[in-house]
């Protein structure tokens, strides 16, 4: 009961200047996170430098909930590389391994066929209607490193949005009621 009394008291004691300062501090934190994210995009050359593994198609190497660090360089795509690609019409990127690569001699354009390690068949069924190969512009990056389990936070927040709202609500309450 004392905590609720304290909370009510501190909400009553808020002055405009203090509120503005706290709002600006919060804004600074959010902006710094955005700056770091955009800087990562520049450094790694990939539109999404970190992805969470959502399916079991690359088990046992990558489990659901792992996060992958991506990098996109000008180097040509070669067989065996784990690439992250998006297909026209599907929003969720797929992380699979390139098993066939045909690179044109003149234009350096490349046809790539991918397959998940844990799948029995290659990805032709996943590509758009009539599409037989992936091209460079479909590929968002190559996986270069990974951390296990860390991505579960994102999966839980996506699949049970209630938790996201509870977290943000709790954080907001903490910011408002903190004494400094």
């Amino acid at each position: 009961m004392g905590f609720i009394g304290e909370t009510v008291d501190s909400i009553k004691a808020i002055k405009i200047r203090q509120l503005l300062t706290q709002a600006i501090t919060l804004g600074m934190i959010v902006t710094s996170a955005l700056i770091i994210w955009k800087a990562l995009i520049c450094v790694t050359g990939s539109e999404s430098p970190v992805v969470v593994v959502l399916s079991e198609s690359m088990e046992p190497g990558f489990q659901r909930g792992d996060i992958l660090f991506l990098r996109m360089t000008k180097e040509p795509i070669r067989a065996g590389e784990i690439v992250v690609f998006s297909v026209d019409g599907r929003e969720i990127p797929i992380v699979h391994r390139a098993i066939k690569v045909h690179e044109r001699g003149d234009t350096k354009e490349v046809d790539v066929l991918t397959k998940g390690d844990n799948n029995d068949i290659d990805d032709i069924g996943l590509y758009a209607e009539g599409q037989l190969w992936l091209h460079r512009h479909h590929i968002m990056g190559r996986a270069v490193g990974f951390l296990p389990y860390v991505g579960w936070v994102t999966i839980i927040m996506t699949e049970k949005p209630i938790i996201k709202y509870i977290l943000i609500g709790a954080l907001g309450l903490l910011v408002i009621t903190s004494k400094d």
């Binding site: 190497g61 040509p76 066939k100 045909h102 001699g105 903490l174």
Partner: protein, 167 residues
């Protein structure tokens, strides 16, 4: 300054930072491992070699693959993904890489093996350039760590050639 909230926050931040640091060091330790993998591939038989209805050449092979990849395993290794690819050049394509067979090796004990297989994935060309074609068979491996940076390398074995006529 000494409330439960502040202490819990400081502890959690410290724990996460230390954990990230340990993961980075674990990954870094992989640089010091001495790796001496070896492999040999023998083509036992060309099962058939035909031109498909849509104009592309296709060949079916039986291979004998012997490899010792035990030295690739470190304490930070979760699995090694090994695959055999046929690599060749044609007039239209500077490089063609077709994966013929792959395997996931979860433990060091399974990394020394001898296996006889026909190609798991279809060896199809873009066109009909395969008659009499010289090609390399490359054994690639990708080491997936328990945490951190993945690395890959390969052994190239050259000197293989497809027959001059369909059969």
């Amino acid at each position: 300054m000494h409330s439960f909230g502040y202490r819990a926050n400081a502890l959690l931040t410290f724990a996460v930072t230390i954990l990230a640091f340990i993961c980075a060091i674990a990954s870094f330790s992989d640089k010091f491992s001495n790796q001496t993998p070896s492999a040999q591939i023998q083509i036992l038989n060309i099962n058939w070699f035909q031109k498909q209805p849509h104009g592309n050449d296709e060949v079916s092979l039986t291979l004998n693959v012997t490899a010792d990849l035990q030295s690739l395993f470190t304490w930070n290794t979760k699995q090694v993904f090994a695959f055999v690819a046929a690599e060749y050049e044609t007039s239209k394509n500077a490089l063609n890489q077709v994966s013929l067979w792959d395997a996931i090796i979860p433990e060091k004990e399974h990394a020394k093996f001898w296996i006889q297989i026909s190609n798991k994935y279809r060896f199809i060309d873009q066109g009909h350039n395969l008659r009499g074609k010289d090609f390399n068979l490359t054994l690639h491996w990708h080491v997936m760590p328990k945490t951190g940076k993945m690395f890959a390398d390969k052994i190239v074995m050259s000197g293989y050639q497809l027959p001059n006529a369909y059969r």
